[in-house]
Structure formats: C-alpha cells, structure tokens
Amino acid sequence: MSGKIAIRVSHLGKKYRLGGPQEPYHTFRDVISNSLKAPMKILHKPPQVEGFWAVKDVSFEIEEGEVVGIIGRNGAGKSTLLKILSRITKPTEGKVELYGRVGSLLEVGTGFHPELTGRENIFLSGSILGMQKREIEEKFDEIVKFADIEKFIDTPVKRYSSGMYVRLAFAVAAHMEPEILIVDEVLAVGDASFQKKCLGKMGDVAKQGRTVIFVSHNMAAVQNLCDLGIVLENGSIAYNGNIENAVRYYLGKSFHIGHSNDLNALHHEGTQRIRFKKFEIKNSDGETIISSGSPLVFYLTLETKEKFDSSNVNFGIGINNLVDDRLVTLFTKFDHSYLNNSFIIENNTQITCSINGLPLISNSYKITLYVDIDGELSDHLVNQIQIEISENDFYGTGNLPSSNQGPVLIVHRWDQETNNKFEN
C-alpha cells in the first residue's frame, strides 16, 4: 500500500429522531399555528429531541488502494455510514476527510428511466454517477458489451427483461472510475453468473489500486474482494482489521444467544427436570462458523438434579427459517443410536449431535431445542437462538441458487441415457 491516506473518519455520529429515521413531517400550517400560539417561540431553537444514534463515535482511516469490507447485521449502521461517506446525508457530529474523487453505488440503476432507450439511459445514469459525457462515449461500446444487450440498445428499457435491465445498470456503474469507490449491497441482484462477472469486474477495480469500500452480506464475496474489514455493531466499530478476522468475528457473533452460549436468560418451558444450559455449534475446525453443507456438531450441555437413563429421554433440535417454516428436525427417535446406548444423564452432561452439513442456502435460521422424559415435556426453547449460515461454494462450480430457487441444496448429477456426442 502506498501509505497515503484516502479516507479519514473521525468521531462520526449520526442521530435520527426517534420514531423513524425521518424528521417530523412539516406542514406550513403547523408553523403558522405554532407561531400564532407562541409568537416568540419561533425565534427560539426547538428543544433538543431525544434521538437514536444510527452511527456513533466511528473513527477509522483507509489508505489509498485498500479494499475494505464493511460488515454488520441489519441496523448496525452500515447504510447510514455509506450515506454519509457518499454525501447524501450529513453527519450530526464528527467529520470525514476524503482525499480523492468519490463515486458511490448505493443502488443498481440509479436514474434509469423506463421510457428512455438503453442508449439514452447509459448517458443519463452515467452522468448522474458523475461521469463526463466524453468519458461515457469512450466506454460506451465496452458498457454495451459487458451488459450483453447490443441488439436492444435502442429499445426503451421498460421492454427489457429484469435481467437485462440489471445487467445494463450494473455495466454503467462498473465503468465509473472514481479514486474512491463506495459500493452497497448491489450484487444481491441478477443471476449467479452475472454476479460472478460483476465480482470479477470489481476485483479488477480493486487491483487497479483504487480505494474501495464494499458492503455486503455475502461473506464469500467480501472475503474474496477485500483486504480489510470493519465490523459494525449498533452503530459503532466492533472490529477493525484484516478481513479474515473480521468475517470470523462477525460469524462468531452470528451464532448468538445474547453474547454468550448461556441459555439461562432465555424463556424455558416444561418441568425443567432436565434443562438446557449451554448450546454450541462447531464446524470440523472447531470454529463457530456455519457454512452451507460443511460438517457440524451441535453441543448441548444439560442441567439436572437427578439422574436419567438416556433410553427414557428424547432430545430434539429443530431448525426453522425466519418466516417460521420448520425445515428439519433432528431427533433422538429418528436415529436411536443415542437411546440404545443407555447413557447416564446427570448434571453437566454434554450431548452431541453430528451432521454432515446443513444443505441450506446462506441466510439466518432459528433453532428450537426440545427434551422430554417419558413423553413429559422437560424443556423447550422455541426459536430463541438465531444462527447465520454463511455462503459456501456448495456445488464446487461457483454457482448457487438465487433466492427464488429454493432454500435447499442437494448434490446432484445430470446426464443423458445415450452416449452420442458431437464430433468437433
């Protein structure tokens, strides 16, 4: 790295008023009636309203040519930070110093108008994104080729398929050349192969030595592109360092019951003769990172004042998606190896459940724990533990299903009965 500063953020904070990120909706009538009610009051400043800090006391520096990923849960302040950096909204306190021309890409297709043709939209969107007309003209052919829409360039974009639209929109954005590029979660659109092409293009950008700030939930993409990572939590920086550690930190937190594995604070149902005390998930490397399809072990630590024979006790682990469909239940009655072993269950016994992998797409899921003794409910923790499954190259082809292709991943093989092949 060149060692020259590209972005310096110091003690940045952004406060929104409570009750939503908006300022209260003003009408002229309010102002008039308020000023009639209290004619002098309009001259005074309104009292400071209690607010909510979307970003609070954030400081970091980015050097020229560094590619930094910003990761964090929804509501952690990523978008607000990006909006401040790209000058859309002003901070409440602190400051940002930018040592270079900034281009931001917070949305694919900013400024696109459905009535205008592809050609017209390239120029429109390009100049909204800060490109000069001459610059767009130079790159025009490249943009059209990248988007692969040569035939439709003079058709209004309202007649485009959504795929074509996104490809064109991204192609324009991908060709802007600011010194500092700020990219929000824009790769969540388009089909997988185009996503890969975009990642490739962004990788090129990064290799050209430009400073890039990249926000995404796609951990694979973040790890692929970025050297450094900043983890945001509740508007503040929780971790700032190299990207592997940042992702690890984030995913470590992504398995969460508060901030520990302690289940005591959760809502338990049942007689509590056997009670779940601790819950952990580890992958084959002993880390708490869960990725699609990789082997996992669930660890359950129990609390009890009695002793039980495991053949009388049933344990279950249920996995739901965020809209509360049960996807799978792991149950000692389905397997029997545990029941048949007649283990002694006593205080602090740790039982395990191993699986070859959760063949589910990257997303958040909720876990339910269950135990009964001779059919009598002993402990039940419903949907209180959330896990994040991170993306993994499940099929080894780099292609993954998009969100409308279902949540389940199954290894499969395509073939044909007859074995005649084209002779080239």
Partner: protein, 283 residues
C-alpha cells in the same frame, strides 16, 4: 485526542471534508460549474420525456401558448377591449406569454423536481441545486419554438422589429433569473413544507393577473410604478414588449424588478443551500 494521523500527510489537504450541517454554506458556484453537463442531461431527459408518447409531440409546445393567445385575444382584446398600446392584440399578448410561460413552467417544474426525483437524490450525490436549475432550463426549448412563431406572426402583421431588439437577450436573462430566484425559494420551501406544491398553481394564476400579461403596464399610474416593479415579472414583461415590439418605454418598474431579482436570487440560493443539508433526512 487519539488522532493517530501519519506525519507524512499532515500537510496534504483533503479534497473534501464532510461535516455536520451549518447555518450558512458558501454557494460553491465552482462545483455547480463542474456539474454543468448533468444540468444539461436532466434538462434533455425532461424534454425527451415530455414529448414521448404524445401524438403531437413537440407541436404541444406551440399549441399551448397559441391557444392561450387566441382565447385571451378574444376575451380581453375583442370583448373587454383592453388597450394594447396600438399593437395588434394577439402580438401584444404573445410577447408577454413568452416570458410568462417560461416563468410559470419553470416554477412548476423546479418546485416539484426536488420531490419527484427523490429516488435519485437519496442514492447519489450531486449539487442539489442542479434539480431546480434543470427544471428552469427545460421550458427553454418550448420558449425558442414560440419565439419563432412570434416572429412569423410579426411578419404576418407586417410588424418590423426595432433596434430595441438588441436588448432582448438581456431581458431573456432577466426572465430566467426571475424564474430561478422564485424557483429556488419554492423548491427549498417545498422540501420542508409539502404544502407548496399545491400552492404553486394557484400562486401562478394570481401572479399572472398581477403582471401585465393581458393588459399594458401603461395603465398602471406613474405613482405606483415603483411598487409595481416589486413584482419582477412586471419588469420582465415590460422589457419583452419593448425589446420585441418596440412599444412602451421601460420605466422605473424594470429597474426595481432587476434589484428585486438580485435580492431574491441571492437569498434563495443561500436558503436553498441551508435546506439541502437536511434533504435526505426530510424527504
């Protein structure tokens, strides 16, 4: 302070510093100039979209003022017999409708531009003033076409332009400046108080009768000329008629109007700069 900045770059100044909102911001005309292509792009977009999918296309630009001229000529010229300083009433009316339409359309578009384009403006930065500016500029094509129609009509009525026509560009600039100054105020106010988009059509209607569109400004008594100039459009229209048709003599009204526009324009720009800092939080 825990500012651990490198000693090497202590001397280099940042290209840009983002700070909390301030009460007064400098106007930064330089930045606007850097974005001049974008003003043109938005203006062209508006013009293209305006006539797309219309059967008559750009003919609407001529048709609207022509029909207005026709109706006004019948109602105010023939029926009410308002004096027109000895000029054929249709010419008299059209010379005023030209700057008036420019003003009214520009006002309309710039006021709503900040709200209708919020999807763009909350996703990408450019000087916010570009939006009302391009709103003001987009009726200029219509204006140019109507100007040609006026010249054709002058030929038809055998009305030769006088030497005054060399002052026409000055009054055109004054008309655009008027439109911009009011447009900036209204678009900033409209961001803060949405009431203004409902007020504008009404305001324009009243404003037209307060301006010498259908009547000659010569009917205003001399003692009120100064006050009359506080309406900048009075000066603009008086100037247009004088420059294009050679009727009337620019009075104190024009001078007062020019001062008024300068005051409105400068204050409007500062007010706009102040409001724009909260734009993304309000819209």
């Amino acid at each position: 302070m825990n500012d651990n900045c490198n000693i090497s770059d202590k001397n280099t100044k940042p290209l840009l510093t983002i700070e909390p909102p301030k009460k007064w911001l400098p106007l930064d005309i330089h930045e606007l100039w850097n974005y001049r292509e974008l003003i043109l792009t938005f203006t062209m977009r508006d013009i293209k979209l305006r006539y797309k999918q219309t059967g008559l296309g750009i003919a609407w630009a001529v048709l609207q003022p022509l029909l207005t001229m026709l109706i006004f000529s019948i109602v105010f010229g023939r029926l009410a017999k308002l004096p027109s300083d000895g000029v054929p009433y249709p010419l008299f009316i059209l010379a005023a409708l030209l700057p008036w339409t420019l003003f009214a359309e520009g006002l309309n578009r710039s006021t709503t531009s900040m709200v209708t384009n919020s999807n763009i403006m909350t996703k990408v930065y450019f000087p916010r003033m570009i939006m009302p500016l391009s709103g003001i500029m987009s009726p200029i094509i219509d204006f140019a076409i109507c100007l040609i129609v006026l010249f054709i009509m002058m030929v038809y009525y055998g009305f030769a332009p006088t030497i005054n026509i060399i002052f026409f560009p000055l009054f055109l600039i004054l008309a655009i400046a008027t439109s911009l100054s009011v447009g900036l105020w209204l678009s900033a106010l409209n961001v803060k108080y949405r009431d203004f988009q409902f007020t504008v059509p009404f305001l324009i209607q009243i404003w037209m009768f307060l301006s010498p569109v259908v009547y000659a400004s010569s009917i205003i008594p001399d003692s009120y000329r100064f006050l009359y100039g506080l309406n900048p459009m009075a000066g603009v229209i008086e100037g247009f008629r004088w420059a294009l048709l050679g009727v009337g003599v620019p009075s104190i009204t024009v001078l007062v109007s020019v001062c008024m526009v300068i005051i409105l324009l400068v204050s409007g720009m500062f007010y706009f700069r102040r409001i724009e800092q909260y734009y993304a939080d309000i819209v």
